[in-house]
């Protein structure tokens, strides 16, 4: 069957073949996983099981259960002093991925340009393209994988409408302090940009407290804040996220959502209510564990000569493999074949230079130790 020309134009993932290789191999320690190794805290699971037993199996309001929106509103108010009206400014989405697609389609017109810092999470480019807009990539390699005001300014041209921010970032783990965000926000305001801020890793910020960009002066009215339950509460498979922003864009997103997704599955929404209500202890425990692993793996990688900046959040390190002389795909393949450790080549995240790999430390300590020894062994044997 002939398919849409637009979809046909999206290039297939260059590392599909590598994935197949990993999935087909036994006894691999995978440091290529982009989700927590923890299982969802039991209080959350239990509340969802109970709700199914009680017969909560129907649709919800398109916007999501009011109770969940109200909880999110209270949570953001208490934590960040951010005020979003649960009636008009919050939409429950099926993960941040759906939220992102909805913003793009609700916001952009054909020909609008969107700034996307590279390396980036894999869906930013396709959803921009599918919305009919034009991505403008900003390579952040020279500035430690961080956007700077001048990088943004240099990439402004006619038709640039929005920018996608993601911090703490996948795949690099870098994040922004309040001061850095404040400097960036001035450029965003001056150029009248809409900021689409994917802050899904916010709870996993290790060295300073996370600042949502919408808390900064003049930013709330131009920001769509995307977040969800996947990472902090180890709820990836539940697919629950939320979008907060000005009522016009949330209204537009709700319109698309009601005709496509209809609503986020009710069991997930009920689990999310419990997550906000009684899981802060588990979030703190998981964060402490990730923090220890970060210190460990970062130290080990530098020790064996794979240089990397210290990640400030999320659960990724993004070391350079330049001094091995291999490109990232070859490095990943050989490491897999010789030592049975899987990592993700940096090119998967849109980087043109082939000299980085993403290592996820969402693996238990003993796997992480073993994987580090194997990588060290791999490097020594070369």
């Amino acid at each position: 069957m002939k398919i849409s020309r637009k979809v046909d134009k999206i290039p297939p993932s260059g590392i599909r073949e590598f994935f197949e290789l990993v999935i087909g191999m036994k006894d691999v320690i995978s440091l290529g996983v982009g989700e927590p190794d923890f299982v969802t805290p039991w209080n959350i699971c239990e509340s969802a099981i109970f709700s199914i037993e009680k017969g909560f199996t129907s649709y919800t309001s398109n916007k999501g259960l009011y109770e969940l929106r109200a909880q999110i509103s209270r949570f953001l108010k208490n934590k960040h002093n951010l005020s979003y009206d649960p009636e008009q400014e919050i939409l429950i989405t099926t993960g941040v991925s759906e939220g992102l697609d909805l913003v793009m389609r609700g916001l952009l017109n054909p020909g609008d340009k969107v700034l996307i810092p590279l390396p980036s999470y894999v869906s930013y480019y396709p959803v921009t393209f599918l919305a009919g807009a034009r991505p403008v990539f900003i390579d952040t390699k020279k500035t430690g994988f961080k956007l700077t005001p001048s990088l943004v300014r240099n990439n402004i041209s006619k038709g640039v409408r929005a920018i996608i921010l993601n911090y703490p970032a996948n795949p690099t783990g870098v994040s922004y302090s309040r001061k850095e965000l404040s400097e960036l926000s001035k450029v965003f305001i001056r150029n009248n940009l809409v900021v689409i801020s994917d802050e899904i890793y916010d709870e996993l910020t290790y060295d300073f407290s996370h600042t949502p960009i919408s808390t900064l002066k003049g930013m709330k009215e131009r920001t769509v804040y995307l977040n969800g339950f996947s990472k902090a509460y180890a709820m990836t498979g539940w697919r629950v996220g939320y979008a907060c922003g000005p009522k016009e864009i949330i209204g537009a997103m709700t319109k698309i959502h009601q005709y496509t997704m209809l609503c986020t599955p009710i069991m997930g929404q009920i689990g999310a209510i419990e997550a906000l209500r009684g899981s802060s202890r588990y979030v703190a425990e998981m964060k402490q564990e990730y923090k220890r692993r970060r210190e460990f793996i970062w130290d080990r990688l530098n020790e064996m000569g794979l240089e990397c900046a210290k990640p400030e959040g999320a659960f990724y390190v993004f070391p350079s493999i330049k001094n091995t002389g291999m490109d990232c795909m070859r490095f990943a393949k050989e490491l897999l074949n010789k030592e049975k450790v899987a990592v993700v080549p940096g090119t998967a995240f849109g980087l043109r230079e082939k000299d980085h790999i993403r290592i996820s430390y969402a693996s238990n300590m003993s796997d992480l130790k073993e994987a580090a020894s194997r990588i060290e062994n791999f490097l020594k044997k070369r």
Partner: protein, 161 residues
Amino acid sequence: MKGILNILEKDARTTPEEISKMVKKSTASVKSTIKKFEKDGVIVKYKTVLNRELIKDDNKAVRALIEVNIAPQRGHGFDHIAERIYRFPEVVSCYLLSGTYDLMLVVEGKDIQAVSSFVSERLATLDNVRGTVTHFLLKKYKEDGDILKRAERDKRVAISF
């Protein structure tokens, strides 16, 4: 300090070198902190958590939880009689509780007879022991935070973004 204990409590085999990376302290300082914990009795010992049900041909021991009612002694309260009791090697754990009885013991023997004779001959006959109630343990599901099942397989897809 507490971080080191927390790490060792989860996995006693973590080496000082590994701990030093995790808590950002020198290996020497981690080693000396652990030494001090050992000396002060904060760290009592290092051992392995077993699920005996999975050991083939294991001489399966029988365990019982025993409630003990005690007449406290003048000048000693419960401590003296508790010591008389917990020094028996059959007593695996010994707790003083609030509520309708005083001591809760975990007692281990090679079979039901061994536990029964310990209770009837040694424990119940002690002065100050007013009465005992014995509950034999049928199955262990979880102990000290560890669920006693085979390690679960990682259910995640091996690679994801």
